[in-house]
C-alpha cells in the first residue's frame, strides 16, 4: 500500500511538473470596447493554465501603450495589489489604460526580473496585449520596439475559436528561427473585484506544456480550439542573458482573445 501511494504521488508529481509554465499576465476582461473608458488592467505573474502557483512581482520597469505608433508611459497608474491565487497569495499590480480615440492600443509590460530559486535563474517576461476601440485597426500587426516581442499575423483581439493564430517572434527586431513557443489557456480569468481566479473552465493537457516552434521566418501557428484568452511565451528569446550575476531568461509573451462563432 505504501509503495502504491508513493508511486501515485510520484506519478502525480511527474504529471504536474512539466505543465508548470510561468506566464506574465496583463489582463482586462474585454479586448474590444466601443466607448471611451479608463480600463483597469491586472498584472499577475502566474501559472494560468493550471490555476496554479502565483509569483511575486517587483516594481515593473516599463508599462506603456502604443497607439498609432505613439508610445505613452502609463507606469504612473500602477499600484500594488495582492492576488489571491488558488493556493497562495502573490504581489501583483493594477494599472489603468486610458482608452479614448479609436484604434489599437498595444499594451506593453517590462516586468522586473523575477528570481526563480528552483532553477537559480532570473525570468523577465516582456508582455504584450491588445485593446481595440471602435473596430478601427491601427497597427496590431506592427512591432512596437520591445527587446523581444511577438508580432501577430492574425488580428489578436477577435480570433475565431477553431481557426488559427500566427505570429512572428522578434528579438532586437530580427526574426527568431526555431524557438519553442509555450502555449497556455487562461483557465480561470481573474475576478477584477476580488483579485482572485474566477471559475475554472479548463485543465492542462497530459504530456506537459503545449509547444509550437517558429519556422525559418520566425513564425509559429497554433490552432485555437476554445474561446477565451490564450497566451504564448517564447523562453529566452530576448537579447539580454544575464541579471545580477545570474542567467536571465528574457521571454516574449503575447495574449490574444478568441470567440465562438455564433
Amino acid at each position: 500500500m505504501k509503495k502504491l501511494l508513493a508511486a501515485t504521488a510520484l506519478s502525480a508529481f511527474a504529471l504536474a511538473a512539466p505543465a508548470m509554465a510561468h506566464f506574465q499576465l496583463v489582463y482586462g476582461p474585454d479586448m474590444n470596447v466601443r466607448k471611451p473608458v479608463q480600463m483597469p488592467l491586472k498584472l499577475i505573474f502566474w501559472h494560468p493554465f493550471e490555476n496554479g502557483h502565483a509569483m511575486d512581482m517587483g516594481q515593473p520597469e516599463e508599462f506603456f501603450y502604443v497607439l498609432k505608433g505613439k508610445k505613452t508611459d502609463i507606469s504612473d497608474s500602477l499600484r500594488p495589489i495582492t492576488f489571491q491565487g488558488a493556493n497562495n497569495e502573490s504581489a501583483a499590480f493594477e494599472g489603468v489604460l486610458p482608452v479614448k480615440r479609436n484604434g489599437d492600443y498595444i499594451v506593453g509590460l517590462v516586468p522586473a526580473p523575477y528570481y526563480e530559486g528552483s532553477e537559480d535563474i532570473y525570468i523577465q517576461q516582456i508582455t504584450k496585449t491588445f485593446v481595440n476601440k471602435g473596430g478601427a485597426p491601427t497597427g496590431w500587426n506592427e512591432p512596437v520596439g520591445m527587446k523581444t516581442e511577438f508580432v501577430p499575423l492574425n488580428k489578436p483581439y477577435n480570433v475565431i475559436a477553431g481557426s488559427t493564430f500566427s505570429a512572428r517572434l522578434l528579438s532586437g527586431g530580427k526574426p527568431v528561427v526555431g524557438a519553442e513557443v509555450e502555449v497556455e489557456y487562461l483557465a480561470a480569468e481573474p475576478d477584477m473585484e476580488a483579485n482572485a481566479p474566477s471559475e475554472v473552465t479548463a485543465r492542462p493537457m497530459p504530456g506537459g506544456a503545449l509547444v509550437a516552434c517558429t519556422d525559418e521566418n520566425g513564425v509559429f501557428t497554433f490552432g485555437i480550439p476554445k474561446a477565451g484568452f490564450w497566451g504564448f511565451a517564447a523562453l529566452g528569446s530576448g537579447p539580454d542573458t544575464e541579471h545580477a550575476g545570474k542567467e536571465l531568461s528574457q521571454d516574449a509573451v503575447i495574449w490574444i482573445k478568441a470567440f465562438d462563432l455564433e
Binding site: K35, K100, N102, A136
Partner: protein, 106 residues
Amino acid sequence: MIRKIIPQILMAGVLAGSAGTALAHTPLCACYDNGDGTVLCEGGFFDGSSAAGVRIHVNDTDGNIVIDAQMDENSEFTFEMPDGKYSVMLDAGEGHRVEITADDIY
C-alpha cells in the same frame, strides 16, 4: 411604388456583397465633445483605410443638414456644436453610412 423600390434595395445589397471589399469597407466613426463648444469626429473603415475626403454632415432633429463638410487628411473633422439636439453622419455613399447620435458623443 414600394414594390419597385424593394428590388432595387435588394439589388444594391447584392452588389455590395459581390463587391468583396464592401464588407470590409464598412465605415466607422466616433465623436468626442472637446468641452470647449466643439466636437471632434474621427472616421475610417474596418479594413483600416482612411476616411480622408469622405463627406460628413451634422443634422438637426428634423433631418436638416446644418453643417456639410469632408473629413480632413487625418480622417478627422471638428465642428462647432449646434444649438439643440443633433446627429452626425459619415456618408461614404449608399450602404456605407454611419450615424452618430448625441448619446454616442463622449
